[in-house]
């Protein structure tokens, strides 16, 4: 169980923008400081909760949140189930007005964002830092861990693939093209069946 606790520090707010590149191909919302009438909230009445996937992510989360009220920072085991449970536990201690920062590999933060939305978060309250993208990486052509959805047998599965790659569904064996269509609710890319019905 995560307990609600407070930290304090100060640093420039520009860190957040710098470490949270918004992918230009995926419908992912990245937010920064809460604002009122276009101005940042003064007095920092809303606080941030961070969930980090792995040790490098913890450092990035701490850097990004330095200077902001932080209600909880969590280091999770590097496992998908531990990660989703951590998101749940953090949301349980958050209050209305707080924001959640998810830091980790692309697959984890997308899954975490979907989980947060399913638990009532809206895009304006979710910020993401992706750790497995390097400067110059193509968002589409770089292989990385992703979640895909089989358009034939309708299961989600983990893959290491680039958008456009062909993979076999681990459940039904169908050959799937990993399409750039992304489901925010499933946090999965569409695996488009190739050749189904041709024979």
């Amino acid at each position: 169980m995560v307990s609600r606790r407070w930290k304090d520090a100060d640093v420039a707010t520009s860190v957040m923008a710098g470490v949270m590149p918004r992918p230009d191909w995926a419908p992912i919302s990245v937010t920064s400081l809460p604002t009122v009438n276009g101005m940042p909230v003064t007095g920092m009445t809303s606080a941030w909760a961070a969930v980090a996937y792995g040790q490098r992510a913890v450092s990035l989360a701490q850097e990004a949140l330095r200077g902001r009220p932080v209600i909880v920072t969590v280091t999770t085991a590097d496992s998908p189930s531990g990660w989703e449970n951590a998101v749940d536990e953090v949301i349980d201690v958050m209050r209305a007005g707080d924001r959640i920062l998810l830091v980790g590999p692309e697959r984890a933060v997308l899954v975490g964002a979907a989980r947060a939305r399913a638990r009532g978060a809206i895009d304006a309250e979710i910020a993401l830092i992706v750790t497995d993208r390097e400067p110059g990486d193509s968002e589409i052509e770089t292989r990385r861990q992703r979640r895909a959805f089989c358009g034939h047998c309708h299961i989600d599965f983990a893959i290491d693939a680039a958008i456009g790659d062909g993979v076999n569904c681990p459940s039904c064996g169908s050959l799937l093209a990993i399409h750039h269509h992304f489901s925010r609710a499933r946090a999965a890319f569409l695996g488009f069946p190739i050749g189904v019905g041709d024979s």
Binding site: I91, M94, A96, G97, A121, A124
Partner: protein, 311 residues
């Protein structure tokens, strides 16, 4: 043309010196349609005038469409007309419309009622109570104005906080914001100063605007400059005062324009402009509609000295 149904008044009940509850049922036997919580119906009176009133009963299994109407001395006599209804009277009703529904993904609903603004809030509370949702109600009213208070107590139990006056409200609202869980939404129905206070309090604590919902129970006429409307094809000239809406001035002059929300939202009063410049204040028309020469005279005004319309 908006759908209208002839309904029969099944009952009239006095809830307060200035508030009557009126229940409408189909003229012939049969059930009334369910509706989303927070919906309103349009009561047609005086031929073409329509007043909107929130429904207060069970929205999923209604026995009737039930409204509670405050008799306003300052209005255009629609509320007085409703107060003169008797059981057995028949009335044209515009069926329920939903502009103030609960958010289904909310983890907690904070409902705030101010005075007669209790009506849609009661509808929301009934819904949340029936479905076991997390919710609480703050009912702020002046001393003695306890309309639907017993109903709220029955529906909400310990989830109701009564606040008599501004200071009690401020304390109750601040406390509610302190403990509101992540994923909460706040809904307010009441006078504009209450809506403004609720909105400001939530924004100050970092709530995104998407979590803040409100419904004004009375149209606020934003004042403007005086102007003259020329009504074609007759060429009738009608002066519109600075504190008066264009549609009110036209009705007083005998020009009937169908209206419903009178807040620039529903689209009912859409009117063609043939000359002059419009100060658009509605939320309904697209830029394209405006460029095509349409306006909503319930809230919009002239930016020129005269405006020529062809209703």
């Amino acid at each position: 043309m908006t759908e209208r149904r002839v309904m029969r008044v099944a009952g009239v009940y006095t809830l307060h010196d200035s508030v009557k509850r009126v229940d409408f049922v189909p003229v012939r036997s049969g059930s009334v349609d369910p509706y989303p919580p927070g919906s309103h119906i349009g009561v047609v009176w005086g031929g073409a005038r329509v007043n909107s009133y929130s429904l207060t009963g069970s929205s999923s299994l209604p026995d009737s469409w039930s409204i509670s109407v405050l008799h306003r001395g300052d209005g255009a006599a629609g509320s007085a007309w409703v107060h003169r209804l008797h059981p057995g009277d028949t009335v044209d009703i515009i069926p329920p419309r939903s502009e103030f529904p609960p958010v289904t993904t909310a983890r907690h609903h904070l409902l705030i009622a101010g005075g007669i603004g209790v009506t849609p809030i009661l509808s929301h509370a009934r819904w949340h109570s029936a479905w076991g949702n997390s919710f609480e109600v703050i009912y702020v009213h002046r001393p003695g104005f306890e309309v639907h208070l017993d109903d709220l107590r029955e529906v909400c139990g310990g989830r109701l906080v009564e606040a008599v006056g501004r200071e009690q409200f401020r304390i109750a609202y601040s406390r509610a914001l302190d403990v509101a869980p992540f994923g909460s939404h706040v809904y307010t129905c009441g006078p504009q100063p209450l809506i403004d206070a609720v909105t400001a309090g939530a924004l100050e604590r970092g709530w995104p605007e998407q979590r803040i919902h409100s419904e004004q129970f009375a149209a606020a006429i934003e004042p403007g400059r005086r102007f003259t409307v020329v009504v074609q094809p007759e060429g009738l000239r009608v002066d519109v005062g600075g504190e008066q809406s264009m549609v009110d001035a036209l009705e007083t002059a005998g020009v009937r324009i169908p209206t419903m929300c009178r807040r620039g939202v529903c689209g009912e009063c859409q009117t063609r402009v043939v000359a002059g410049t419009v100060d658009h204040r509605d939320l309904f028309l697209s830029d394209h509609d405006r460029a095509d020469g349409y306006m909503m005279p319930c809230v919009s005004r002239a930016a020129s000295d005269t405006l020529e319309i062809h209703p």
